[in-house]
Assembly symmetry: C2
């Protein structure tokens, strides 16, 4: 892992290994975060991450680093924890069935989104639709492997990498059976707006609007012309 970051040009890499909540209060561990410009969360179990780190001094430091313009990033479970509501578990490779999903409170660094990962590879569109159906105020973000979203200012995201990012937007939804409460009935949800974004595409979370890499190039050109 260290080598990956060194190859990417990161000069100094320190490993912060926290297994229990008590460790997230140790002075020596907290000190490791002095002068840190970025934090990367590896994969694992998102509920383990939030339950062991949530509201500890270490978590406070993450929030400070973020607020001061540092980069907080993560992969797999480490991506899922970034949002205020996070997806914990639910069946992949199935259409969503009422009741088959666990969600919980994440780190809250990005608001208004629910993030899923290994997206196309594990056939997770069903469960992300289920998550969005529960409250279309949240935008569903499904991120493929070897693919990332770069979120700036908490509101503007840009896609990098070789796969796609799916944005499930429930604002336009006209009808769903999610509140009927028939356990295990297949989800019905009408008029979802779906964005499939690839490298260079971006998306405005506030406006719920996609922009293609070409439009981006054009507007950058416009800006340069001015």
């Amino acid at each position: 892992m260290r080598r990956v970051f060194r190859d990417l040009g990161v000069r100094e890499v320190v490993e912060l290994d926290i297994r229990e909540r008590q460790e997230a209060r140790e002075e020596a561990k907290i000190r490791l975060l002095d002068n840190v410009a970025g934090v990367f969360f590896s994969g694992g179990d998102q509920r383990r991450m939030t339950s062991q780190l949530g509201d500890t001094p270490i978590y406070g430091r993450f929030q400070e680093i973020y607020d001061e313009g540092g980069v907080i990033c993560g992969t797999s479970a480490g991506a899922s924890v970034m949002s205020d509501v996070m997806l914990i578990s639910g069946d992949s490779k199935e259409s969503y069935r009422l009741g088959d999903l666990q969600m919980g409170p994440g780190f809250g660094l990005i608001r208004g989104v629910i993030i899923d990962q290994h997206f196309a590879e594990r056939g997770r569109i069903g469960r992300l639709l289920g998550a969005v159906a529960q409250n279309p105020r949240y935008i569903g973000l499904g991120i493929d492997e070897n693919t990332a979203v770069v979120v700036e200012g908490g509101m503007h995201l840009r896609v990098i990498g070789e796969g796609a990012v799916y944005v499930v937007d429930g604002e336009s939804v006209t009808c769903s059976n999610i509140a009927e409460g028939r356990q295990h009935a297949a989800l019905s949800i009408h008029d979802v707006r779906l964005q499939v974004l690839s490298e260079g595409d971006s998306y405005d979370l506030a406006m719920r609007l996609p922009m293609s890499s070409e439009q981006g190039r054009e507007s950058r050109k416009d800006a340069a012309d001015k």
Copy 2:
């Protein structure tokens, strides 16, 4: 297979086994279709079905049975062949990459749709989006296992079974990179309208409008009240 149909109340079941195109011209085989009220296509290889049956006397009989109000149905590859353009192959469990899809001419019993099957189970939303991106005139229909669409009059479909049916509607698409021709680049497609339909939901292919089972019950009640 015979027993399944007997249990469903079908009084007489004959098996029509055609392996080569020549057999689809044999008088004895054609005769098997006298007085037949319905035809069921098993799974297999959709291109094998169309290449061996297309435009043969046997295929002519299928068309007659259909035109006279008979039921033509199929599962797996036998479902894919029903449309005028059919999906032949493409990667599952991946986001669609430009160029990674084979389509071809199907039996043409339903117009304006492209059908995919084993849909959630094999993670096929990516390839169906790729198919629709190529020409949004076609509506993508993704059908889960143990789930079916009943199409009446070629225009109105109704969902039965335990899973979901996904309708990928590209009419509203504002932008895609499908024509850029960068082989294997991940697809970008913006503003797709997605319907997730379950048992009892229906969809009007001409109007591109979903109707929930509840709305259906209401309008049936309205009709009964009149």
